[in-house]
């Protein structure tokens, strides 16, 4: 047996090789390189750096916590609804989202659990939105003295038609006014023209030096008639999430009430992960979106319909996501192609 094998090997002596085998990287080492590439991609995204606004990292990080405690929201050319028609059109907007529990992730599913501090922006409340805000939110209580309000624009004046309660009776009225700002927080609608039951009362009130609040009581959380002006508190204009902003300029335009908001901090808009000009980006910090927990988030929200403007609703976003789709990217970001609000199957 040994002889046979020796003979065999002898036959091949001249043809065999010494096998200078180069050991290849192990399969595990190759996967390690992939991990490093993904980690580098992630790190290079620098979601905490937004121009001058750099979000600090807390000391504590873990596999379920990124260590970044702030979340920013960027939006351009989008309709943002709080609920139903209550909302505004965003020309551009940057805000900081803050959870009501500081060490917990933001829960997008519950708009009542976080607030938004606007850092810079330009938004417009359409007549329909103002109508919804007044009817469905501010004056939506049993003893309200205003009801069935309809809002429209005439030139540079806001026109409010509806019913006002006086001495137990509902009287149709029209108020046309322009806005000013008080302390950056209050929008003051100054009555320029008042009609009661179809007849103009403007001249009479002016001549008799009667202020509207001597005749009518209009008082609600977020709105109060003082003199002949209705004071609207921007902090109470909208249902949760609490949106805090200061107004620099207000103007009535054909599109609605345009508010140019005060710049509190400058932040650079991020590059989107898809080519769109209407979007919301939520960036940095940790966030719950349904059963997903995003760490050091990069979440782009765009409409499924590529040629349309984003129409997003905070209270309906779950439906919008479940009737759309998501793309999870190698760099750890995600793009949600949401169903626009108007197409939602309710």
């Amino acid at each position: 047996m040994l002889g046979v094998l020796t003979a065999l090997s002898g036959c091949l002596r001249s043809s065999g090789d010494q096998d200078d085998y180069q050991v290849l990287p192990s399969l595990y080492e190759l996967q390690q390189k992939k991990i490093e590439r993904i980690q580098a991609l992630n790190k290079s995204s620098n979601r905490h750096v937004n121009g001058e606004y750099v979000i600090p990292k807390r000391v504590h990080t873990s596999p379920t916590q990124s260590g970044y405690g702030e979340t920013l929201l960027f939006s351009r050319n989008a309709s943002v609804r709080i609920v139903g028609d209550i909302g505004f059109h965003v020309n551009h907007l940057v805000g900081r989202l803050t959870s009501d529990k500081s060490d917990q992730p933001l829960v997008l599913d519950n708009p009542q659990s976080f607030s938004i501090d606007v850092l810079q922006g330009d938004i417009t409340l359409s007549p329909k939105a103002v109508e919804a805000i007044l009817n469905e939110h501010i004056f939506n209580f049993l003893t309200s003295t205003l009801k069935q309000l309809r809002v429209s624009i005439e030139g540079d004046l806001l026109v409010m038609n509806g019913f006002v309660k006086r001495k137990g009776a509902w009287i149709p009225f029209t108020l046309k006014g322009s806005f000013s700002i008080k302390n950056g927080r209050f929008l003051v609608l100054h009555a320029k023209e008042v009609l009661m039951d179809g007849d103009s009362a403007t001249k009479l009130l002016r001549v008799a030096k009667i202020e509207l609040d001597e005749l009518l009581t209009i008082k609600a959380p977020g709105a109060e008639l003082k003199g002949s002006s209705i004071w609207l508190d921007t902090r109470k204009l909208l249902p949760p999430p609490q949106i805090n902003f200061l107004v620099n300029q207000v103007a009535v335009t054909p599109a609605g009430v345009n508010l140019k908001l005060k710049t509190l901090r400058k932040a650079a808009y991020p590059n989107l992960m898809v080519q769109r000009d209407s979007y919301i980006v939520i960036r940095s910090g940790d966030m719950r979106i349904m059963r997903l927990l995003t760490l050091n988030s990069e979440f782009n929200i765009v409409p499924r319909q590529a040629d349309e403007r984003l129409d997003f609703s905070f209270y309906d976003y779950r439906k919008q996501i479940s009737q759309g789709s998501l793309k999870l990217l190698k760099n750890g970001g995600a793009v949600a192609f949401v169903q626009n609000y108007k197409y939602l199957e309710k």
Partner: protein, 342 residues
């Protein structure tokens, strides 16, 4: 009604008159959210895995250690050439460190504990496993292994380098053997026939009571030549570590079929999308890059519904990025994956 109750009712009425009424849409949404939040924390373990303890849960953790998984009629690809053809598989993905989610980015950080299953290692996988993984070292005694199988056995064609005192020359050898499970639950390839340079050696070796391991050395993690048997256990595979109690190993026309069994039956929920080829992660927390899917309910399917699912474990992030994800109204996550990574 008593006087105090009237008083309380009047106070509540007064308050309701001065505070705005919450929109019905907001009320509906809040109720839906509360229902959904309970859903997030629901016990989702498959029946039969009740012994898995649950720690406290919050917005970042479901409290379950490990991810319960069921796979049906799919291909599980480790890296390029290592692919399992899975008929069915029930397993628990266990993080190596307690309290962490299972991180698909990093195959070091978890093990796959198979409870029951029926899977096949195809011929090409066996070849790749030997050539690229097991025999990837300088002093190897085997190279250029090619393998064929059928219901009768396994046929190995390779170049063999004999131990000293023989010259270290490469010789072409063919081996034929029978596949079975040994008493230590290892795959055992019993070499019945051997030829070298077309000269049969099996009978002479048997007659002289000479074992193959005297001439050829094969002793690597998970693979050992002992006598004339090649013993293979689950440690032969690269990470993630595969654990499980093998109950059967046979050769078939498609490769080596191995089966796992457990005295406890595991019953998984029916996943949301009806398909005959899928992977269903029912409970536990899974991390993909920067995203954690909490408390399971993730189903993976082929983006082409007419194809079997092929999951690339070593390139999971790339594969998921090449597909798309949907989240249904019940918050189930459904990942549609391409077979080929773009």
């Amino acid at each position: 009604m008593t006087g105090i109750r009237w008083f309380v009712c009047l106070i509540l009425l007064a308050l309701s008159h001065s505070a705005y009424t919450v929109s019905p849409e907001i009320n509906i949404q809040q109720r839906q959210f509360e229902f959904e939040r309970e859903n997030w924390n629901k016990v989702r373990l498959p029946k039969g895995l009740a012994s898995v303890p649950r720690k406290s849960h919050d917005l970042r953790h479901s409290g379950y250690s490990g991810v319960s998984m069921y796979a049906q009629n799919m291909l599980l690809n480790y890296t390029g050439g290592i692919e399992f053809d899975i008929a069915s598989l029930s397993a628990l993905l266990e993080p190596t460190q307690a309290g962490r989610p299972v991180e698909l980015n990093d195959i070091r950080t978890f093990s796959i504990d198979i409870v029951s299953g029926n899977l096949t290692l195809p011929e090409k996988t066996l070849e790749f496993l030997f050539n690229r993984h097991v025999l990837n070292y300088k002093e190897r005694s085997l190279r250029n292994v090619s393998i064929q199988t059928d219901a009768d056995g396994i046929y190995i064609d390779a170049e063999v380098r004999l131990n000293k005192p023989f010259p270290r020359q490469w010789l072409r050898a063919q081996m034929a053997g029978h596949v079975s499970l040994d008493q230590q639950q290892r795959i055992s390839i019993d070499i019945k026939q051997m030829k070298m340079l077309n000269m049969p050696l099996g009978k002479p070796m048997q007659m002289l009571d000479l074992s193959l391991d005297r001439f050829v050395t094969l002793d690597r993690p998970g693979v050992k030549l002992k006598g004339r048997q090649i013993k293979i256990d689950l440690g032969v595979l690269p990470p993630p570590r595969l654990n499980g109690r093998l109950s059967r190993a046979v050769s078939t026309a498609n490769g080596i079929n191995i089966q796992f069994s457990s005295p406890q039956g595991i019953i998984f929920d029916t996943p949301p999308i009806s398909s005959n080829s899928y992977m269903w992660l029912q409970s536990g927390d899974l991390r993909l890059s920067n995203m954690i899917i909490l408390n399971g309910h993730l189903q993976a399917l082929n983006v082409n519904p007419h194809e079997r699912l092929k999951f690339h474990l070593y390139s999971a992030i790339d594969q998921i990025a090449g597909g798309h994800v949907r989240i249904n109204a019940a918050s189930d996550v459904i990942a549609y994956l391409p077979s080929v990574i773009p």
